[in-house]
């Protein structure tokens, strides 16, 4: 199995943990993994991304344009920014909730994440928009966004990782007191979850 996965969002949204969990789950299956992520200034509310590559024969963690199997968009506009990386027929899993940049609030111009979503709908054949707003309310924490998207991507089959794989990784890498909440987030989009 060879997979190129891109996670993107706004600094502080939890992309780093999500990419760690994907990597851990793949490693558990004995697969080689390489990844790269934004660390530094951009983590303060700037655009951030992670590239994750799974499979044999990897040389570098960076993904070439048009070769990503999956994009996990933590924010619609950031998903659009990374879209050139998605391959034809690739899967995009995107959170419905936009984050207004300070620059947009200031200029009064506003920022319409709906525009971003409708662009994604036009461009991406396999698009999954997750109503993270409702989901976070149901689960009772805004902090589970990353696991929600991870779960949705896993259920779509595009990650090549199962719920079980990711569950294991959560148990190993997340403090115990958050297990319950995160496991609920993971299962939230599962077809069998009522």
């Amino acid at each position: 199995m060879n997979k190129n996965i891109i996670l993107c969002g706004v600094g502080g949204q939890g992309t780093v943990l999500a990419s760690k969990l994907i990597a851990a789950a793949a490693m558990k299956k004995g697969l080689p993994v390489m990844s790269a992520e934004t660390i530094g200034m951009a983590q303060r509310g700037g655009s951030v991304f992670s590239h994750i590559r799974i499979g044999e024969g990897l040389r570098s963690p960076m993904i070439a344009r048009g070769t990503a199997d999956v994009i996990l968009g933590f924010e619609p506009g950031e998903a659009v920014r990374m879209l050139p990386y998605l391959k034809k027929g690739g899967q995009a899993v995107v959170s419905i909730r936009g984050i207004m940049p300070v620059t947009a609030a200031l200029s009064g111009a506003g920022y319409k994440s709906e525009e971003m979503l409708s662009y994604l709908e036009k461009q991406v054949e396999h698009l999954l928009v997750v109503d993270t707003e409702k989901a976070c309310r149901d689960i009772g924490s805004p902090k589970v966004l990353n696991i929600l998207l991870l779960g949705a991507a896993a259920h779509s089959g595009a990650l090549g990782l199962s719920d079980e794989d990711i569950k294991e990784a959560i148990k190993e890498h997340v403090p115990e007191k958050f297990h319950d909440m995160n496991l609920r987030a993971l299962a939230y989009t599962h077809p069998d979850t009522p």
């Binding site: 600094g11 992520e37 700037g46 993904i63 344009r65 940049p101 300070v102 662009y119 976070c136």
Partner: protein, 622 residues
């Protein structure tokens, strides 16, 4: 041996531990900080680790350890090397007894730095050998080899990873603890002819260093990480080759690999350059493209070798305009460069095909998202207070390096200058001497104060400057990932020690006016600035409130829509990311707001308050 998923910096740290290091010192700086942090976390009991007060101190501590025969490492980012260059330049003339690795991480882009300087040049300048890893596994092994070379040649050596290697992760094979080397050392032996630098000794040692680097260049030609990858049989007659190093090498290799399209030269030791190996690479070629980041180091070396040996090979790269000369390379840019050089179309069947899902270019305009101070960051409050207090006055706000550099963004717009660590103080003084009618401010964080501002304060007092020093004390080194410093009372060895008190330091230097205020008390802060800035000479305000990323938020506030007159003063003045406009109404994003209350103190109609009070329709701000 076992497998671990490690960040490049963590891999370097584990390699260092496996090499039997005895002491690691450093100063935080992106992208280098995780090396020392990981050594501290994973160290065996006999390793000493410290965050030093700055890179110069760190370099000297590591040198002292190496004088005793211990193995030492010092870590920093590339600009930190400028601070440490004084001891380093001399240290090369003295040499070391135990292995000493100088880890200086470069930042092509730059992604989190002021410059795109190239440590490979520093290596040639200081005459230290340089190791340049391409991925975490190689960095893990290379750092262990670097210690061996350092000891064999009795010189400190550079390990120079770049951001994508430092912060790239890979599942790699590492040693078990039982396989770690134990490095025993003899201790310092007095010998003033060896350890005391004098012009005569420097002259003699200079001769030895030049000779040694000749030997080392030959030695490096045999070093297995400098390597020629032959083109596959069907392309073997092609007279074109690629030379590369660092992360760019991995992009080049991936581009070429499947097809074995051209001969490839990996340079892992840019200095001293493996000349003999380069000669065998150049043999039979007529054109070479050099792919590297930052400066054209490999390109110049190959050009020099071609001149020296009268080789009919054209060398292309940054100097010839074939590769862009600033910013980082990407997987895609390298592929494009190579395709063009080889005269291939980018949809050649041998290439990773860029079959993007995008069909048109009708992309909506993307949100501009520069980094900003966190919601609830106390620096925002400090900047607002100074701005309000100085409204209408002729001022200059000299900034510095840290999270508070982000105070430059609109709407705060409170950083008029920023140069390097600690420079704001000197610049404020220089401006003040030339423009006595300007009220000069210098802003500096607590960690930066200890690292490089104290001499600036002494300079100001001694030379009768007129300026206000503003210390933004959030009790941590926030930008680089919250490391402790002398004011926090914690060390990297986990000890609780006496805190060095900034106010006492300032008073010790002779400042008569030093006031401490909580910036989140807006009115008191504005009053304080008005009072202090008016005083003659050098005076200081210490804005003291912890970094919000390290404190538990006190619960979010909300805008009461029936009270809000939609004047947008909060948005216009603060630029807090939690303040947003939804459906033309100002509101607060509860997932971001920390309840710092700054906006509620600025709102002219008390429309911002805790949600409970809002529901009760009670009074918001007292």
């Amino acid at each position: 041996m076992h497998k671990e998923f490690l960040m490049g910096n963590e891999a370097i740290a584990l390699g260092t531990i496996a090499a039997g290091v005895n002491l690691v010192s450093g100063y935080p700086g992106t992208p280098s900080s995780e090396v020392l942090e990981t050594v501290a976390k994973r160290r065996t009991s006999d390793i000493y680790v410290e965050w030093s007060v700055n890179e110069k101190a760190a370099m000297e501590v590591a040198a002292g350890a190496a004088y005793t025969g211990a193995r030492s490492m010092v870590t920093m980012k590339q600009v930190g090397l400028n601070v440490a260059s004084d001891p380093l330049m001399s240290l090369e003339y003295i040499g070391v007894k135990g292995g000493m690795v100088v880890l200086a991480a470069d930042d092509p882009g730059p992604i989190s730095s002021q410059t795109e300087q190239d440590t490979r040049h520093f290596s040639a300048f200081s005459k230290l050998p340089c190791f340049d890893p391409s991925d975490p596994q190689e960095a893990y092994e290379m750092v262990q080899e670097a210690f061996e070379y350092s000891e064999k040649y009795e010189t400190p050596v550079f390990l120079r990873p770049t951001t994508r290697v430092c912060h790239g992760y890979a599942s790699i094979t590492v040693k078990d603890e039982a396989e770690y080397k134990v490095h025993n050392f003899e201790g310092f032996t007095k010998d003033s002819g060896r350890w005391v630098i004098f012009p005569r000794l420097s002259y003699q040692n200079h001769i030895k260093i030049e000779a040694r680097n000749q030997t080392l260049a030959d030695d490096f030609s045999e070093y297995s990480r400098n390597r020629i990858y032959q083109a596959c049989r069907k392309n073997v007659l092609l007279k074109k080759g690629i030379a590369s190093g660092g992360i760019s090498f991995t992009y080049a290799l991936e581009t070429l690999e499947e097809a074995g399209m051209a001969k490839l030269f990996k340079v892992s030791t840019p200095h001293p350059f493996p000349e003999r190996l380069a000669l065998s690479f150049l043999e039979g070629l007529t054109e070479v493209l050099c792919i590297e980041e930052l400066d054209p180091v490999i390109e110049r070396e190959l050009t020099y070798i071609c001149g020296k040996y009268h080789l009919p090979v054209k060398i292309y790269g940054k100097l010839t305009g074939h590769v862009k000369n600033a910013g980082e390379n990407s997987r895609d840019s390298v592929q494009e460069n190579i395709m063009q050089f080889l005269g291939l179309a980018s949809d050649s069947p041998n290439m990773v095909s860029a079959d993007s899902a995008l069909s048109t270019d009708s992309m909506p305009s993307l949100p501009v998202r520069p980094p900003v101070l966190c919601a609830g960051c106390p620096h925002r409050a400090s900047f607002c207070a100074v701005k309000a207090a100085m409204k209408g006055k002729k001022t200059i706000f000299c900034g510095d390096i840290g999270c508070y550099t982000l105070g430059n963004a609109m709407p705060l717009d409170m950083v008029d200058t920023c140069l390097c660590m600690g420079a704001g103080l000197g610049i404020a003084q220089g401006v003040g001497h030339m423009e006595p009618d300007t009220t000069c401010f210098a802003f500096v964080g607590d960690s930066t104060f200890f690292a490089s501002a104290i001499t600036g304060v002494i300079n100001a007092v001694y030379n009768q400057a007129d300026m206000t020093l503003v210390i933004l004390d959030n009790s941590t080194t926030a930008m680089t990932g919250h490391q402790p410093h002398p004011g926090t009372g914690r060390t990297m060895m986990g000890e609780i020690v006496q805190k060095i008190n900034i106010e006492a330091v300032l008073r010790g230097i002779g400042l008569k006016v030093v006031e401490i205020v909580n910036p989140l008390d807006y009115e008191a802060s504005v009053e304080c600035v008005k009072r202090v800035a008016w005083e003659p000479g050098v005076k200081a305000i210490i804005f003291k409130a912890p970094c919000i990323a390290l404190t538990k938020p006190s619960g979010s506030l909300a805008v009461s829509p029936d009270k809000c007159i939609n004047c947008r003063k909060c948005i216009r003045e603060l630029g807090c990311p939690a303040l947003v406009i939804s459906e033309k109404q100002v509101s607060i994003d509860s997932s971001l707001c920390t309840g710092c209350s700054l906006c509620s103190q600025i709102c002219p109609v008390n429309a911002i308050c805790p949600p409970a009070e809002k529901d009760k329709g009670g009074v918001c701000h007292e």
